[in-house]
Symmetry: D3
Subunit: 340 residues, 6 copies
């Protein structure tokens, strides 16, 4: 099996500690993350060879991000260098009735100012099995969208499986293009999409719908609209999230493979230590599950949902979880006993 | 609209972190607070011009309290200086089956040793619309009670709205007077009272009652006893708190305006990050609501209850919450999504 | 009343903070603990004179453990010195769906390399009323098991009450002996055993059973098997733990005195601040209850269960709880009010 | 006496703690600062009414900067709002043989994207006595340089004293202009300049010189070149800094008023807790000294040098020092005694 | 040899960390200390049986102080309980040119409100060899001075050696008496005094002098004045402190035994980690030295000076140093090598 | 150029923070290090391909050490797994007159229980240019010494340059062999030795000498004794360390190549942030210098000494320094200016 390549932006994350509000913080916890990199870390933890492609500024903060890739065993040899700054975001972690807040400060980052034809995609992808990207990259700048398209075309040409996380962020998309002007072409290449139906249709320029994920009759009809617009698509999946509060979520998942609907049991997630990156954990679990055993969609979905749940217990963007821990959660072993 | 003036004591608060017991603490988190100052911060956060009147010692710790007032945009120009120490309290934050503990160390503070005729109340209140005090001030010393009365008389003479938070603290009232000897005269001036019925009647020297806040028939009868003793009273309100544990509260509220009972929906508050100051958050929300739209008692109560709930998610005495966040909670938007 | 003597190992505990995984930790919280020492601290907190017997290395880390004994008023005058290292363990505190993990690093500790005939048990126990040990000590080395037997024989000869906590740790017992080869003789001397039925029978070399603690008919039958094998036994008790998640436990307890079954009400324990040592808190409560009033088994069980619940709210191995706090929990007072 | 107005950028400062390198930091200490704001804080500490004019983004990070102004009693009523981000900088604090490092991330900040004619300078300055700016503002963008010129013209027209800190930063000046193309016109309005001779001449477009600050004969000749180019100039001063290491500085100062050279004694500064902002502390001391007693240049220089020395002992950008502490240092009292 | 008894106040100490100013502190490090208790800890570290007599409030903060005594092996069985609060003090640790500051908040403490005839001094002192007190106790209240006198009389009657540390604190002595009205009687009982000559004469009501400690001719003349006023005196000693800065001290010492002057070599102390308690470390070293070998005054002085120097390297009030470390410093071994 | 391979033990390092003594520590900073790994990190920082060979336990703590290798770009593909524990050491960082202390707890570590013939040295070394080991490995166990010899023989056979750091640790060598019984054979293979003359001769079984490093006449005579016993030796070098205190060192270096003595200038190192690993920094600099330009011994020594000095300013075992920073120090640029 070849490596998985993920492509996107890694940011410095500055988060307040112990539920403090921004105005109370005298320190920020410094960590690193970004949707596609988070997927890479998940896969590396599961033993999959994985590489992250991005652009880093040639300064001390960029060097820290590079050390982070190495630490988590994510190959960085095709990272390109340039630009003025590492994108960053501030995170205030909520609790109970108070939600978490993100303040993005990622404009003009090394990744946003990426230029076309600077990544040798054929070389990058030549021994790859899988290529993963998300809707964040085309949302940050015209150039990033274009380089993303380059990568997708190269991967498609090489016959590599392509997974796409929709990752719609309303606070991005500030460079003059709307998702429906950019995403349809990019999504065309997808073999696997992660995201909910209404976001998919919105990005593909279709009318708004209100899917009922409990209705196994209406659901395939809606999904088939997406399959029609994405001719390479074989699987689409989404987390189902029922928010009780910022500290309590109920998490399930749905997967459709053009033929059948698969459901994962709803799990209680409380307390929420850190919600950021839980979608990426789902994605990482899904890719792992499908890479490991293409034949069992249900197993892949179960892994994805369990990974998503476990991510909520971990500080930072990454899902620092082993396959064994995922398996324990799937098999229903209560986590209340101390392992000793 | 003129400013709101609140009068009381601001203390240094020394709290253990991460639920540690006092005997485990090697550091104390240092913050500042006190019932009436906490109300002032709430109002400043809502955009209301607000001033805090107190007495501070002329030392480095008093100077820290002054900086805190400024930071949160609370006017401090009529603060008076003198005395030997800033009052302080120690807080051990409980969890689950273990309650929080306060050890007061506020005797002989600058505020407790305040002297009569040292505040020029006419000058302080001349451009004020509202005056707020609470039952803590007359509980700390004879002099503080007397200066409180000076302020109330001046405010009443100037036709300023007066709000009173009962704030009964059994660990105070050590100077030889009981509440019923002091509070009835002070409460006479109240236009708005916050506190529960049994505390109000106790402070007014009446017999103990056990109000049933769910009974909309018996409630007005009890409330009318208070209205009788407080001729200027137009509104009385209280939080309703159902404690599941130190980490889980159910919070509602009741308001009576001499004519009708208003109720706010019960909200689940879990986890409790910090309960101290949640009554002050209720008071701040109530004053804001009534200042902003005197006509809608229901809206004011809803704001007060939402503010009280949100306070439980914030470390420290103050309710660092925006009107927009209060509005979101009232409108029932689950806080589980990260705003990004 | 004479002193209580507990015998066992005290370790350095290195735990990650704020639910961090081991790979995220840049600091470890350093505390000290071990089952039998934890029991000693509980008893000291309840005002019982108590002494801990162990072996410490003569280095700075051993000296820290000694200071810890003194701080919590546990007599240390019969501690013996020698060996190369203090045993230690690493603790990663889980949350929600992710369980806590212990990595032991206690092999070759001062206590594990203890030698026979180095403790003058007659002198140690001469003014003692009670002797407590647990199944951890015979699990760490052959020598520790043998010294444990010395102590039990001396205590038995002196007519001292002996309590045994089964404390089965599957990660120990590495020196070539299985529990059933060692424990039956040691348990013979027990007057009180704490632990569940299946563990007791397993350690006594009997067949596996699946006790139903809700069935007051079948339970005495199972318990009587244990009574038969332990001729000095008068009381056996166990916590009942229903794990909802790593952060939420439901805790009850059962006690049998050869005649009747006693039950304690199930209590909700959420959030779990720290679960380690909660069995020792149960044991400490039980010993206290029986020492204080031998006649009321129900009261002793209630104290033990309340102590166990409260321990879950406290960081570190020890149950830093007063009798008054236990009494409040037993009497059902909600802990949601701040004591002030 | 009217207020002092300072104009410039306030940034979020993210610094590693305890001399850690960037790659070791898991947290950044978050504080706020910027040359001209630092001067404002100094003056507020000395009791001078002072206002800071800047542009802040309308987000949570901008709101934190605003709270900081208030906390330190710096008037903020003429702050304008807009733009996307608060500029920030990363600081790694060196020690001994390893110097400190700054990584700027301030491009495209709210201040850098300031627009012309958005500040009503006449209104801002109408009750001001003094206007202070520095060479950092014209270095960040063309627009910032232009708005700076607006302010200088308005101040000059109103007859307000103008002080300029040269503050040359080689890592700025990236927008296509060189200092000598921009600074000469701006410096024309200066009544007081702080900075060394070679920087002044470089910014004024003159040839490089190597001034010998110990030579009281050659020094006036060099200074007179600057006086010639800045017709409003009456005073120029500079710190003298002899670096032994990152932890040890020797600090003195020179002032020239067109007639005479004044020198301040060299002081030993070790350890250096934080060097950033020490030039601003000098400037703040100088302004205070001249405002307080225009007639004594020597006293003003002594205050400026003492303030600069004391700043090195304080974490963060600001000089949190009282006049009394400055006076003690000037009078030579050793600081080794604990004041108690 | 019997125990040493020290008598005085133990306070909660709240200090800012990393040289922060009070206005920057979000946490205070919490420790405990007080001159006479610090001496007790020193002696316990040297293996001397030692007991501390004080009055503690019966609250959680008092209980923490008690745990501290136990931790450091200082007997607490004669501590009396009562009063409302534990005295406390705030400490801001300076650096370089900025001195440390103490803000006392110890008025009305449990110790200051001590009452006469509440300590059974005969019982306390019956198996004691040495009694130590300092000039702080009579400075805090009339009652404390009177109880101190009770203790001194009892000790004198029992023939116990009495040591007195002058410890003049100008911020105390607020209860209406001056040192010269109280101290002469108390000092009469001293066998050993620690403190400088001018302080001794000031406290004894004599004229101010300016002793030259380098002049071995004039020194005995001055010392003899003190010997005359204190008929039981056999030894008087003082540290010599030359302050280079808050971070750099030069420390020596002088001792006079009525016959000869002894000097200890000056040692460089840099950096100063924490200066508070260094005089108590000197006192502790002196008492140990004289207890261990009465015949060698030079050795006792050397120990005292070395202990004082080493204290400057340790955070908190106590001198956590072993005799072996003191011996190494005296023998001149450079501490630059890591012991491994 | 091929890779450098270093072989040894990596440990968990648990250090007290802010100069605290062990008994004061409530947290330990957790980092990783060991002489030969530290050298590998230095080389990786200088851009040299480098691999570390060791044995790690297959547990969470071992996994942390592995992540650390990856983070710092040290190849780990030939690490072998097994054993029970990662060795660890406790570090108390001294200051001024108080030295630092190490408490080793590394017995029975994965590395100490390494077995012969478990590393395929030919495969490991096949594309290597340089092999580095130190005297620590043969000091921990017989097996480790034997595996070390295997590696040396393989490297020698392959014609790879071998460097040896003497690294004598008196607290090791506990397994029954003395250095002179083991080291002579191992040192035979050395091309480069780092260490002082007396240690070299002691390890080689020769008489004790007291070398005078300032005497360029006597020095070659002593060095030639070592050259005689180590037939492959071409270069020997040592740091020269003059300890003023735990916080102040003077550092120089000497190198001898069988023909000439080279000296590096003494540099002042104050404050010492962390001394541990400074010898490894010297070694890393020396290997880099000789790899980069074999012809200039003086340049290599200068790099080694500068690296050693800079290491003292960095927390943790590793020298996180760039070549540019080394060059700046060599060229004498004072580090007092902030780079901005």
């Amino acid at each position: 099996m070849g490596k998985v390549v993920t492509f996107g932006e890694i940011m410095l994350r500055l988060s307040t500690e112990r539920h403090l509000r921004f105005s109370q913080a005298k320190t920020f916890a410094a960590s690193y993350g970004g949707g596609e990199f988070n997927v890479a870390v998940s896969l590396a933890n599961y033993g999959i060879p994985v590489e992250f492609v991005t652009r880093l500024p040639d300064n001390d903060i960029g060097a820290c991000a590079l050390k982070e890739m190495r630490k988590f065993n994510v190959e960085s040899k095709n990272v390109i260098y340039g630009g003025d700054r590492l994108g960053l975001y501030f995170l205030e972690t909520g609790a109970g009735t108070r939600g978490s807040k993100v303040v993005y400060d990622r404009a003009n980052s090394a990744m946003a100012t990426l230029e076309k034809n600077t990544i040798d995609w054929e070389s990058v992808l030549k021994d790859a099995t899988w290529f993963h990207w998300s809707g964040i990259t085309p949302a940050i700048s015209q150039a990033a969208a274009e380089v993303c398209l380059e990568g997708l075309k190269a991967a498609h040409k090489l016959g590599i499986t392509i997974s796409s996380d929709l990752n719609y962020r309303s606070k991005l998309w500030k460079y003059g293009k709307q998702p429906h002007e950019v995403m349809p072409e990019l999504l065309t290449y997808s073999n696997l999409i992660s995201g909910d139906i209404d976001t998919a249709l919105f990005m593909l320029g279709k009318d708004k719908v209100a899917p009922n994920y409990m209705n196994e009759t209406s659901l395939p009809v809606l999904y088939d609209q997406i399959f029609e617009l994405c001719p390479n698509l074989t699987t689409i999946a989404t987390t189902l999230r029922y928010s009780v509060s910022a500290s309590h979520q109920r998490i399930g998942g749905v997967l459709y493979d053009g033929k059948a609907i698969y459901n994962a049991d709803i799990k209680e997630v409380t307390p929420v230590v850190d919600r950021v990156g839980s979608g990426d954990a789902f994605m990482g679990g899904l890719i792992y599950g499908l890479l490991d055993d293409q034949s069992s969609k249900q197993r892949a979905l179960n892994i994805a949902v369990a990974a998503c749940c476990l991510k909520h217990t971990i500080s930072g963007d990454y899902n620092l979880i082993t396959l064994e821990e995922i398996q324990q959660l799937i098999s229903g072993k209560a986590s209340g006993k101390v392992s000793r």
